[in-house]
């Protein structure tokens, strides 16, 4: 079907805008969720004053951050000091463009539930997360502050080390689905509901746990949040930042969490496919049938976000040498072993 380039452009821009707004809103509410859940874990209420159940707290926080004075410390290296939070946030926002949120639904030649459908989507996600390191590294270096520099050094070393385990843990999934395209990866898991998910059916639960741990380290979250360990480094790489520049780092961190949740959902939990497969007859009209996959997708991503917060509220922080030892001596060998076993099983099945 030939559609005019203008309708295509308009719909694409609209799609990007809608996804960005939804992502940023969910970033704000993930922060609220984190404060609430961690509050409950620590036997207190969490934010409860602004709006019913504290639901308007993100608005108040955002307003506060906007209105704060944007301090520029005197001895920073100015161009990179300004560039660093922009790199961090733009990389975090860019990776969401590869994520398919639901099955392929075309309207006037535009795919409704995905911004861009790329053959090598998974590789591009890895590339963007690799480039995102510069945000943190440059922030720490340009701040001209020893705490910031140490935070940035730790973050870079941690990200390089854990990116290996992260990349290798995905190889098993790619081997099974024979494609880097995220839609293909989901489609190979959607035949028998729960049982054909990579997590259960495909013997990839090892890869799943490696991915989860490496991704926690990649997003600098507890128990791997050494780059911003308050007790030793004040606030790590963003010690010198204030107001909107700090908010950009903050948003980047939570946007990365959401992306990790989306990728884990797509790769290991069958994406938007229902856990019951085709067990139940299709109910409702076409609109409900189209929205149901989105519901499953969001529910799974929500589960991952909750897990992130739960882990943060439960586990103490690693020591730095433990962190490095764990990444190189445990996660990496297990990930390689998983690739060997998976490819061996696949070779047995095909011959």
């Amino acid at each position: 079907m030939e559609v005019s380039i203008w309708i295509f452009l308009l719909l694409s821009v609209l799609k990007v805008a809608v996804v960005t707004v939804i992502l940023l809103t969910s970033v704000a509410y993930t922060v609220l969720l984190e404060r609430k859940v961690v509050g409950r874990i620590q036997n207190r209420w969490g934010p409860s004053r602004v709006g019913p159940f504290g639901l308007l707290q993100p608005l108040a926080d955002g307003l506060k951050l906007f209105l704060k004075e944007d301090l520029m410390p005197t001895s920073v290296y100015r161009p990179l000091f300004i560039l660093a939070p922009i790199i961090a946030l733009s990389c975090a926002l860019m990776s969401i463009s590869m994520i398919p949120f639901g099955p392929q639904v075309h309207y006037k030649g535009v795919d409704l539930f995905q911004i861009s459908d790329v053959n090598i989507g998974l590789l591009i996600l890895l590339g963007i997360s690799g480039v995102g390191v510069y945000g943190i590294a440059l922030a720490g270096w340009s701040s001209n502050n020893k705490y910031s520099l140490f935070g940035a050094l730790r973050a870079s070393a941690q990200l390089i080390s854990y990116e290996l385990a992260l990349g290798l843990s995905l190889v098993g999934v790619v081997l099974r689905s024979e494609s880097f395209r995220l839609r293909d990866i989901v489609n190979t898991q959607s035949t028998h509901g729960l049982l054909s998910w990579n997590f259960f059916g495909g013997f990839q639960f090892v890869a799943f746990f490696i991915y989860l741990m490496a991704a926690y380290a990649e997003t600098n979250r507890a128990p791997f949040d050494l780059p911003e360990a308050e007790t030793e480094l004040t606030a790590g790489y963003h010690t010198e930042y204030s107001s909107m520049k700090f908010a950009m780092f903050f948003m980047a961190e939570y946007a990365n969490m959401i992306t990790v949740g989306c990728v884990a959902t797509l790769l290991f939990l069958g994406g938007w496919s229902s856990p019951f497969g085709n067990l139940f007859p299709a109910i409702g009209g076409p609109i409900i049938q189209n929205l149901l996959p989105i519901f499953w997708f969001v529910a799974k991503v929500f589960f991952f976000l909750f897990l992130y917060i739960w882990v943060r509220g439960t586990l103490p922080r690693f020591r730095y040498d433990q962190l490095m030892g764990f990444g190189w001596k445990v996660l990496l060998p297990v990930a390689i072993l998983n690739i060997v076993v998976t490819s061996f099983l696949l070779a047995l099945r095909t011959t």
Binding site: N119, G127, L153, S156
Partner: protein, 164 residues
């Protein structure tokens, strides 16, 4: 469309390379090198080599250049003083570079027919095509290269190990 993109990213690549040489602060040079690597990735993508483009971003822009900036940050290398260069560089360097360039251009242009060409376009070399070539037709060079890399890693470990 492809031609416009080619000129944009080709220009960015050359500008980044020049900036790399002209900047006096090592971290700015490293950042210009990242720009060069990333624009090269876009050029690969326009030639249809999607896997190569992604690998370029992941390996060069992502991993190797992070190590570069890491080392610069760790050594806290400062701004460098500009020297006027040696006489020998002026006398030999510029003519030498010009002769090399002329020779390369001459050789490429005279052998244009036998080199085969790539063109900008919409076609793609998929990852499975690439791996078929790599693991079937070029398996031996591939394995030999991986052993070479292994040797290099072992050498680095030996060099970095402290004497007891």
């Amino acid at each position: 469309m492809h031609l416009v993109l080619f000129f944009i990213f080709g220009g960015l690549c050359v500008a980044g390379a020049l900036n790399l040489l002209l900047q006096r602060h090592p971290i700015n040079s490293a950042l210009s090198l990242i720009v060069v690597m990333s624009s090269l990735a876009v050029l690969y993508l326009m030639l249809g080599a999607e896997f190569l483009a992604a690998a370029q971003i992941i390996v060069y822009s992502g991993a190797i250049m992070v190590l570069f900036t890491f080392v610069i940050m760790l050594l806290n290398a400062g701004r460098e003083d500009r020297t006027h260069g040696s006489k020998a560089a002026y006398l030999v360097g510029f003519p030498g570079a010009a002769i090399l360039l002329a020779m390369l251009v001459y050789i490429f242009l005279s052998n244009r027919g036998s080199l085969g060409g790539a063109r900008l376009g919409d076609y793609l070399v998929t990852t499975s095509d690439l791996s078929r070539v790599l693991f079937r037709d070029l398996l031996l060079p591939f394995e030999v290269t991986s052993i070479l890399l292994l040797v290099a890693i072992l050498g680095a470990v030996v060099l970095a190990r402290k004497e007891h």
